[in-house]
């Protein structure tokens, strides 16, 4: 069961990574990046790394996404 979840998560990670790279609009690739981080967080919890998971959830998928959104907003790249 846990193996299946891990494989599913890995699949989603690759999917979101490709989407983040090849999406046309910046906002959607940014959302994909955020989902990638969230998937990583679940994976870290399964892999017994709660500290890293907490740091990843607040830093990488939390505040960094906020910085990205501000930047995209300021540069008018919401097309």
């Amino acid at each position: 069961m846990i193996q299946l979840i891990i494989y599913l998560l890995l699949f989603f990670i690759i999917l979101t990574a490709f989407f983040a790279v090849f999406a046309n609009s910046l906002i959607s690739s940014l959302i994909a990046l955020s989902i990638l981080s969230s998937n990583l967080v679940i994976l870290f919890v399964i892999l017994q790394a709660p500290d890293v998971a907490l740091a990843e959830v607040v830093i990488a998928s939390g505040i960094t996404t906020g910085f990205f959104i501000i930047t995209i907003d300021k540069t008018g790249g919401r097309r």
């Binding site: 500290d51 907490l54 830093i59 505040i63 501000i70 930047t71 300021k74």
Partner: protein, 235 residues
């Protein structure tokens, strides 16, 4: 043409990494040597540092110097962004949310503070620690600013106060380290600097670790809040 070169380069790199990891995950003779150091931490970590969370024990005691460097990196990012960002006032358009958002945010803020201070003070007992708690503190500022508009907090004055708080956090970290030298031990010493380790598993234990956690949390929280503020006010 350039595309083909880059693709070839990346394919070479990928195959290189593939064989590297293939080698790496095979069990080899060096496994005994590797076991020694992590075994050492697992066996002696709780006794020597008083923290039952080994990651915090490593971050704030065994390798506290790395953490000092890390805090310095955030300090640098804050200084750099305050240096490079524009100083003049920029008009920011206020967005109006529905009352539910305002009420919801004001309801959630105290709980976020409780979460942040739980993460900081229980860093040596449960997952979390100074960095995570600090970022949660910064998140409260972010939420307040996003919902109640950018002019909610007093502009330049509060920024200056916040950078003072950040400096205090950074200074505190170093002064705790120097205390070790004054007490006749080495820099960033824990037990040798006269801190009591206490009983492992209790809130007031692990000597220097909660103090360093607090300083780091204060520093990171105010630092990231400054970064956010500067980025928002940037034209």
């Amino acid at each position: 043409m350039r595309r083909i070169y880059i693709l070839a380069l990346i394919l070479i790199l990928a195959s290189l990494l593939f064989f590297t990891f293939y080698d790496l995950i095979q069990p080899k003779e060096f496994i005994d040597d590797k076991a020694q150091i992590s075994e050492y931490y697992i066996e002696h970590g709780v006794k020597e540092t008083g923290a039952i969370n080994l990651v915090t024990a490593i971050l704030f005691d065994y390798r506290a110097f790395d953490t000092l460097g890390e805090a310095t990196v955030i300090f640098i990012a804050v200084s750099a962004i305050s240096l490079l960002a524009t100083k003049e006032r920029v008009l920011v358009s206020d967005t109006n949310f529905s009352p539910i958002v305002y009420q919801g945010i004001s309801f959630i803020i105290p709980f976020l503070y409780i979460l942040a201070f739980y993460l900081i003070f229980y860093g040596h007992l449960s997952p979390g620690g100074g960095f995570t708690g600090g970022v949660v503190i910064a998140t409260t500022f972010v939420l307040l600013k996003m919902t109640f508009g950018i002019r909610y907090s007093k502009e330049e004055k509060s920024l200056q106060r916040r950078s003072l708080i950040e400096s205090i956090g950074a200074l505190g970290f170093i002064l705790v380290g120097i205390l070790g030298i004054i007490m006749g031990d080495n820099f960033l010493a824990n037990e040798g600097a006269g801190f009591h380790l206490g009983i492992a598993g209790q809130l007031l234990s692990a000597g220097v670790i909660p103090i360093l956690n607090l300083f780091t949390g204060v520093k990171v929280g105010s630092g990231l809040a400054i970064i956010f503020h500067r980025l928002v006010r940037e034209e």
